[in-house]
Symmetry: D2
Subunit: 335 residues, 4 copies
Amino acid sequence: MSDFNIGLIGSGRIGQVHAGSIADTKGANLAWICDPFIEGAEKLAAEFGGTVTIEPEEVFTAGNVDVIVVASPTPTHLDMIDRAIDAGIHVLCEKPIDLDIAKVEKLRDKANAANVHIAIGFNRRFDPQFESIKDRVTAGDVGKLEQLVILSRDPGPAPRAYIAVSGGIFRDMTIHDFDMARNFVPDIVDVFAGGANVFSDDIKAENDFDSVNVVLRGRGGELITIVNSRHCSYGYDQRLEAFGDKGSLWADNVTATTVKHSSAAHTEAAEPLIDNFLVRYAVSYRRELALFLDGIRDGKNYNPTFDDGRAALILADAATESARTGKVVSVDGTL
Amino acid sequence: MSDFNIGLIGSGRIGQVHAGSIADTKGANLAWICDPFIEGAEKLAAEFGGTVTIEPEEVFTAGNVDVIVVASPTPTHLDMIDRAIDAGIHVLCEKPIDLDIAKVEKLRDKANAANVHIAIGFNRRFDPQFESIKDRVTAGDVGKLEQLVILSRDPGPAPRAYIAVSGGIFRDMTIHDFDMARNFVPDIVDVFAGGANVFSDDIKAENDFDSVNVVLRGRGGELITIVNSRHCSYGYDQRLEAFGDKGSLWADNVTATTVKHSSAAHTEAAEPLIDNFLVRYAVSYRRELALFLDGIRDGKNYNPTFDDGRAALILADAATESARTGKVVSVDGTL
Amino acid sequence: MSDFNIGLIGSGRIGQVHAGSIADTKGANLAWICDPFIEGAEKLAAEFGGTVTIEPEEVFTAGNVDVIVVASPTPTHLDMIDRAIDAGIHVLCEKPIDLDIAKVEKLRDKANAANVHIAIGFNRRFDPQFESIKDRVTAGDVGKLEQLVILSRDPGPAPRAYIAVSGGIFRDMTIHDFDMARNFVPDIVDVFAGGANVFSDDIKAENDFDSVNVVLRGRGGELITIVNSRHCSYGYDQRLEAFGDKGSLWADNVTATTVKHSSAAHTEAAEPLIDNFLVRYAVSYRRELALFLDGIRDGKNYNPTFDDGRAALILADAATESARTGKVVSVDGTL
Amino acid sequence: MSDFNIGLIGSGRIGQVHAGSIADTKGANLAWICDPFIEGAEKLAAEFGGTVTIEPEEVFTAGNVDVIVVASPTPTHLDMIDRAIDAGIHVLCEKPIDLDIAKVEKLRDKANAANVHIAIGFNRRFDPQFESIKDRVTAGDVGKLEQLVILSRDPGPAPRAYIAVSGGIFRDMTIHDFDMARNFVPDIVDVFAGGANVFSDDIKAENDFDSVNVVLRGRGGELITIVNSRHCSYGYDQRLEAFGDKGSLWADNVTATTVKHSSAAHTEAAEPLIDNFLVRYAVSYRRELALFLDGIRDGKNYNPTFDDGRAALILADAATESARTGKVVSVDGTL
């Protein structure tokens, strides 16, 4: 089978990750890089190849593009998906689909009826740790799943300018955890969220929380806890537990090596955690792309779908409302 | 200094633990054991000494009793404390003070004005793991405390008859975690609780939950998460994390030894957890008593007070209401 | 059954440990404390009870002594055992039996024919970690035992004066590891030892090693490695692995709690190790005594015997010779 | 800079690893694959590219080859290195250089005077775990290095036919550990080795050991322990400790994920170890090649040299003799 020609929309931080994944993936060819900031596209092309343009339309009409990877700013996501459908090009789009659920609903029927593969970039599903737990839960290693605990803390907060347009912590950061929750318990019925401002005046000034706790309930009574912080002194803290009637699976943090240090001050100390999500999740980004291409080959979609992206946004909206009203918000249609 | 003569009220499971603690504690002398089920008292006296009686009054009026340890059923607790105050005898009473906050309020002023030491048996404060974390948080090892995560699962549910009179999971089981939360963040202002029935028809039939998640918020914005289950296949799961701006302290479960086993099936497997709270917390029960006696000697109260017992019950009541209404319940007066 | 009256010979550091064990052990009564340094005996008696004397004979002839615990200096050990045999008193003697194998051989037949129980204080056999591994090896958890790795490092070297009369590192320190080796593989046939002087001028001046490596071979081909150092910056390092064809059991070090600390500097750091052998092995000293008394009650000897003490000394002598000659030394009669 | 054209000699198991490394390494181009078993070369070329031949001479005289990677059987190694020198081609040769130290000595002067880079494939130096320990020892994290403990066990023995021509366990398997020892302590002065036959009749029939223990002493008194077994039920056991006066660095085994499983049978069980050295050390093989190419670019040799390969063989020979004679064998010239 010939290679997939890929058009990459966006050459920023995430765009660079995807360019690296494409370069590392057999059967993937970086054909186009599109960014209105053309210097970014050119720099990436110099490293990984591909033709550059400032105009997405050029990519969609080039005629030789099989797959679009959307890594441009969130407000452009829906439009890119829409155009990809029209152009008959498969599309892997970064999260979130959009910050406005109403716009998502408008495209929903078209997206679900499309003849192309549409995937949303919840790459953490493909992290070897979390994927292993998912597989083992499916295989029955914990029996019936009853509780899920997700600890997820960023090394440090994004700049205030980013926070201002992020849609809030639930839509920007927790949305990964909402998708992870649905990865294990697709059908969520209740959302409760509590937020706090404990360290960042900038985030407070943007009327956003720097720390949140979320409790979700699945239709089968599964209780899911999410603990988030926008900062973490010891790195990028990403842990998960799946608890069932027959046992528990626990994913510890990932360090660069297994080396432990003992001294007069402490024993068995591991190295600081990887504090960069691009490094921490480098493998999952690569697996995300590889599985997306495999899915196209196999005629199946192995990745989170448009509806998965929509469901995560519904949960984020519910959490935003819950944190504001202090009430549980019931949701419908996350399945 | 001469020994403290101790009168033990109740010779059931917890009474036996306290009898063992008294026997192991220098300066403590088990003088009386009182139980309407006299065979229980006699059996305990045969092992640990002490005079038996079915009548508490005999203990209160004996004239040689310095300390009462109350391990009788919950409905008797307030009355025992009340009588101990009147008799001028120090009292260490098992949790909860009562299931009815109104009755607790009635005794509150008298209890706080009493000339005797009154302590409530939240022994987990004295577990070496949790106490070490508390000390290190106080010493600044995690900086400013921002989040607390409490994972607490019982090995298996109590019998249905016990559940029926327990006051519900929040007042019976989670109350330990409410006190632990207040051990780190005394002043709680918001309570949210979500409950589920995922494994026990008996508990459901009693209109109680078998699994709960609680989110508390402290006045300083601290977010506290409690994850409870009434069962746990791998033993008595008791973990805690204190997270702050400078780091995290995490208490793992306790196993009998440090031995790890590797085989074709797995590597580095620890032994099953201790599945019995009396064994798991044996040390904390002993330290609870020793500190109570130290406090009497020093004229200070190192143990959770009557008001701590009241505050935990207020949180349990708030959680019960929250789980019923799906709303955050604000509380006042847990400080 | 009435209590065992115990005569303790020696009130130094180890004597104090045994006094504590006696006080903590049901059915054990500290009847006598004997030390030529009478103030030491008196201080111990003030804390734990017992009659003091400077004259061992008084203890042997008191008529009410059931058990002698020998914690006096090594040169007195054989004589104390000899006298205990003559007096018909059971004897638990600290290691080593003696520094001179010839003297040990002289008493051997009498000791083995004695009507009293004789035990040598290799308390580590009763450490919960190592005992658990022994039990599990016996139960088949690693299949056929093939290799044993013993890592054993002291927190810091003894004073030079002690080193001078210690008999050398193999007879003084490694002897514990020789007994541990024989606990798993009783019949050792070959001994190789390599020593080095890497940090202590004092030890070098005494013509002793500060660091050693020993390789033992059992009759069944089992290979045993011992790694020793007279110092360890992070505490008292005591680890052991039993490796067989079906798996491995590994005993990690013991810390006071399970708490792990993460910060910008490191993650999951455990506390420093316990750096005092009396604290690290407090439980094993207690279990050693309890089992010795159980053995007397049951008419069996559950502790290391006179011949075990002799065998460990034979291995220490062989190691001393091997380190001097650079040759493997074959031994006979460690079984 | 243009790519390095690489000629790969040998398309067996190790040859396939190197082909994969070349494919994954930027600036490396697999130009030739040479194997008398031409089907092997063709299969590899189909996957990774390159021209195939049965005749090494064709590779040496092609004119466009910059680097030779030697993955052919051991008896061919010296000849390949010799020819590479003559052809002015850099050469990365698998371990061991040869089984006969006399042949190695013959080429030594020529090799050391050669104008090409010569590296021996002790890839474990480039394992992230061991390299991190090496870097941290160099940085002073353990103070002065005093002891090194190397635990190294293969998942299962090679076939008898391979054992027969392997040169014995010390030259075939332990040689990696000898190089690792020298990676930390280059100048070894004493070698002691003990071998045993505990599980394999095949290995015994070949007059080889299935399990060995080695003690090395460095010129500075450093004591190094190597524990080897030709089988390991739980996978490929590869651990290392560097111990110094200020602390210890310990490399635990590597598992595919950080996931731990708890159940009624055990707690915190990690996954079975990777049981294949090609997978376990995949990263180190890639880094070995990348550093070799970097070295050529920089005009420095970052890899183990011809003399490192010679020194490891000297230690293996000494261990073979020591295990036969039961004596320490002094070595000269491992520096």
